[in-house]
Amino acid sequence: MKEGAMTASASRELIHSKRTRFWRQTNWKAHLTLTVLLLLTFYPVILLLLFSVKNNTQFFTQRFILSFPFYLENYVAAWRSGIAIYMGNSILYAVVAVVLTLSAASLSAYAFARMRFFGKELLFYLILGLLMIPGVLTLVPTFVLMLEFKLLNTRWALWLPYAAGGQAFAIFVLRTFFAGLPEELFESARIDGASEFTVLRRITLPLSKPIMGTLALLQVYGIWNDLVWPLTVITKPELKTVMVGLLTFTGQFSTDYGPLYAGYVIASIPLILLFAFSSGLFIQGLTSGAIKI
């Protein structure tokens, strides 16, 4: 009996000390703060999902709590309003702009990192200078330029400025990366008589897939979220981006709250999918430490 009690209390002691060690080791204050911040961060998202399945009666009587049944037909109504066209447009704008940006930038970055030529420093300063030109300075004259080229309300009005705007950052990052690749790779290829373009295509680009991926993702998020420029140059409904389309959509459904918020959720789906498939690459690229000045 006595022995049993002893073991029980001893084991209780052990459990107790294990628990305190657990609390001491896991730094519960940090966990608590982070969890509270996460809840506050996600609250608007939760609100969005909650509203998207309510009908108007539920919206006015039980706005901030879960209410049954779910009205999933809100999503159908939102989808039928043409939001699919906006999403298709945004995808097309982002993909073409990213391809243009990275094709031009990888050629330039290769030249700056691996080739000898006259005026290298001066030309690099011209790239560097781009960082000093704010979007607000070029907004009005680029609009006028598009007007003169008759490119307003065409896809080029977004593709070309986005490709130009992406150059500086992509060239910086890629140049640093290309310059860090081992010289022997390039030397042996040149001895075999490969041209610079072949070296770029066959050796450099396959080795830079992860960094290219990160750059592409950053630009896609940027283009997807851009509002001012597409609002300025695109007025045709069939060419609108998701961001601009959502404003039109908000006008259409101004008192139809369920479909309105369902539409907002639908508009986020492409980025959710992109993030689901690429978050590893994205986080890895951003935490590699390359992004600083």
Binding site: H31, F42, P44, R116, L160
Partner: protein, 315 residues
């Protein structure tokens, strides 16, 4: 120098010629590689920038011939009540966006960094960056609902807490600007946390251990070890917040158009209005040019004054 002199005669004239011909060839090739980039930035970055500088000296509605007016636009800016009001708002926005960018994401990064479990670090990292999937405009529109005087969350919340205060929020001239600043609370999500975290993870165990031996822990370590070592990241995010604060007007464009009255007007929004609502491209260009000069000056000052972290990293 001496070595070069000795070697000079060894290289024959033919070799020299071949060398310079090779440089010429490689220059031609390199220019070919650079052509797409320079075509793009020449046409869509440098040319518009030059146009903006030129148009800032003209009176122009965007269609008819521009009339040269010298510095008249800049003189008018000095008397422009709306623009002067918008400058005050801009300073408020810049101040708070700097404060926000330099505190909360850094705090989150430090907290994640302080966790011992790699799995916990991984999940927090993922969850804090995940909200980037919500499009910017959706965030704005959800917050417009939160601020809605009749249906919104904020007034409802005050009701549940039994507080008698109600406000029109975005419709209240005294609160509207702060309401815009508050969008995105608690400001912990997004890529900034990851960028800070990248800096912290680059510091290295040995530095942290040495600091521990010297008794630098907690806040003391953050201030005297972490901050100087992640200056590269701090400087980048600081400059981005500054530039964003000076030229950003997305929230205004969607939610307030600068109102009520001119309570949330900022120079970027005013430039947009003068250009596209009043067709005064010349005057708008003058506002843009002035903002460019301010941004350029501030960026150069910061680049000079805040030391980079690279010197420390060498060890």
């Amino acid at each position: 120098m001496e070595i070069a002199k000795e070697r000079l005669p060894v290289r024959s004239l033919a070799q020299k010629k071949r060398g310079s011909r090779r440089l010429l060839w490689s220059t031609l090739q390199a220019y070919f590689f650079l052509l797409p980039t320079f075509a793009l930035i020449g046409l869509f970055s440098y040319y518009p920038a030059m146009l903006a500088l030129y148009h800032s000296l003209t009176d122009w509605n965007g269609v008819l011939l521009a009339k040269y007016v010298g510095l008249d636009n800049f003189r008018e800016m000095m008397r422009d009540r709306v623009l002067l009001a918008s400058l005050g708002n801009m300073l408020t926005v810049v101040f708070w966006s700097l404060v926000i960018t330099l505190t909360i994401p850094l705090l989150v990064a430090e907290l994640i960094y302080s966790l011992r479990s790699h799995r916990a670090q991984y999940w927090y990292r993922l969850l804090f960056v995940a909200p980037i999937v919500v499009p910017f405009v959706v965030t704005l529109l959800v917050w417009r609902f939160i601020y809605d005087p009749d249906l919104g969350l904020l007034n409802a919340l005050l009701g549940w807490l039994g507080i008698g205060f109600r406000s029109r929020w975005l419709g209240d001239p005294n609160l509207a600007l702060y309401c815009l600043l508050f969008i995105g609370f608690p400001f912990a999500a997004g890529t900034n946390v990851l960028i800070y975290l990248a800096g912290l993870q680059g510091i290295g165990e040995s530095v942290i251990d040495a600091a521990k031996l010297d008794g630098a822990t907690g806040l003391r370590r953050v201030i005297s070890i972490d901050l100087p070592l992640i200056m590269g990241q701090v400087r980048l995010l600081g400059i981005l917040a500054l530039i964003g604060g000076i030229q950003g007007f997305g929230a205004q464009l969607v939610l307030t158009r600068g109102g009520p009255g001119y309570a949330t007007m900022v120079p970027g929004m005013w430039m947009y209005e003068t250009a596209f609502s009043y067709s005064r491209m010349g005057y708008a260009s003058a506002i843009g040019t002035s903002m460019f000069i301010v941004i350029l000056g501030l960026t150069l000052v910061i680049m000079r004054s805040v030391e980079s972290s690279t010197e420390y990293n060498a060890r």
